[in-house]
Structures are given as C-alpha cells and as structure tokens.
Symmetry: C2
Subunit: 162 residues, 2 copies
C-alpha cells in the first residue's frame, strides 16, 4: 500500500557522491524491500535489537517519532510496543554511508525492555573469544528477565523461526 506521498521522500540513487557525501535521503532497500535497523538504548548505549524496515516503516518512524519495523516472521508492519506496551521513542535516526542501514537511538517506555524473550536487550548472551579447543558455551549477560513474556504477549505465537 505504497502511497504516492510515501515514495516521494526517498530520492533516486544517482551517484556515489550523492549517496555518501550529500544530504539527500536515498536509501537502498534490499531485494525484499528491507533495510537492517540497529536499535540502541539512549540511556545505556546498549544495543537492544536488530530489526528491519520497509519504506512504510521508515516513513512512519520519521513521522511519528516512534519505532516501526517490518516483521519478517509475521510478514506485517510492526509498531513496536503496540501489543506489549514496549514502545520505543525515537531520539535520533541515523543512516549509514551507502544508505543501506539505519541506526535508531531510542528511549524505552513501559517496562524498559525490548526483547520478546523477556530480557532488556535481545543480545543477552556473549560468545567467548579465543582459541576454540572445545565446545563454545554462550554466557548470559543479563542475570534475569525483566518481564514474563506470558504476561505481556499471552498466547501470541513466538516470532523466532528455526
């Protein structure tokens, strides 16, 4: 449902100089019409999640000042927090050099968490570095969940795909 208005804010990509050194918004959506989006917590600097936006999600994020994504697992526009209350208020939207990635710096509302598993950040486990001599065991970096997913999402299907 790409309205005419929605398309107009994105400029045609003409030259590398325009894309890298200019001030025109000329994003490169991938073959699925998506851009990867990094979301960080403005309070802690922590990376909260990696999501995706299509044209509509990016436009709505710009207009509304709240984070919208495209849910690849549910295949729909996703206003983060519409179900869970875990709204992300946008402090800053950045775009990268070749304009094929977005960085959202956000203020968390409600429970101040972002991850559907119940943790604050989706990146709650660390991979140990060094010579790999035996099996790698992930290390938990958040001691406990911030919320119980059952309370927040009820019986909604888990978005994780195998």
């Amino acid at each position: 449902m790409a309205s005419k208005k929605m398309i107009e804010i994105f400029k045609e990509r003409k030259t590398i100089e325009q894309v890298e050194e200019g001030n025109e918004l000329a994003p490169k959506f991938d073959e699925n019409g998506l851009l990867p989006v990094v979301t960080t917590d403005a309070k802690t600097g922590q990376v909260l999640m990696l999501g995706y936006q299509n044209e509509e999600a990016l436009r709505l994020t710009i207009e509304k000042g709240e984070a919208y994504y495209w849910s690849r697992s549910r295949e729909c526009l996703w206003h983060k927090g519409a179900t869970s209350g875990l709204i992300q208020k946008v402090i800053d939207i950045r775009i990268d050099d070749d304009q094929d990635a977005i960085w959202l710096n956000v203020e968390l509302q409600g429970l101040e968490a972002s991850c559907h598993v119940g943790f604050k950040s989706c990146f709650y486990r660390s991979i140990p570095t060094g010579n790999i001599k035996e099996e790698i065991k992930l290390i938990y970096k958040e001691e406990e969940k911030t919320f119980d997913p059952q309370d927040v999402y009820g019986d909604a299907p888990n978005p994780t795909k195998l």
Copy 2:
C-alpha cells in the same frame, strides 16, 4: 573453503527453547550464508557500522579477537583494517535471541575510525523526525572527516554500490 573444524562450532538448530534460552551457539545464516553484524565503539558506545559475517568470518572473529566480515560488494572475506590499519579489537561478541544477528563491541586501533568515507562512524548523518511537509535534508553529525580516504585506501575501488 569451509573446513570440517569450521562447521563443528555451530550447532544444529533444533528447538526454539534451545536457540533462545540455551547456551549452544546455533546461528541462523540467511539464504546467502550471512548474518548482519552491528559494531559499536567500546569507548564511546557509538554504532560504527553494520556489516555481515559468513561462517568463516564469525569463526575467525571468535578465534582471533579481531573483527572479520564478509564484504558483499567485494565478495570476499574481509579482515577489517588489513588494508587501512583500522583494526577492530573485539571486546565482546553478543548474539541475539533467535541467533540471527551479531553485536561486536570493539576497541578501535590506529586512526580510531571505521568508515571508508573518512568519518569515525558510518552513521555520520541524521534523518530529522516530525511531520514531513517538505524535502528531507540529512544533518551531518560529525563536523569533519577523521582521515583522508585517499591517503588510507589509495586507488582501491569504492565499495559503495548504487
């Protein structure tokens, strides 16, 4: 050149519980064999870049403690800094809930910059938010380049694609 050893560190994805709540490393590489990777500066918390890793790049990053990526534009393994000296020393590697994205927190070596255009971060421009009544103009957030790309990369082709 995926060696037998290289494949063994990644476990088969069997259940959502294993992937989300376990301590096994069972990443989901996409249809091109890649994972998106967010890289942040351990000193400032700034997001530096969004790159991609294949199995070999992730394994090398784990083993060597320096950031390796898969360059989509050059279609080759990319040891960040091998050409430019802009090595990224890994402080922490995180993996997200469904194990399809990586967060590298790094210490910058050399010029303390990361972006091939010459800026510290690839995300040197901001998209203004609010009602869209006229053309969007990106706002520069780094006042000047940290280095001259010509000095660092010489005549190497620009990796940005239109």
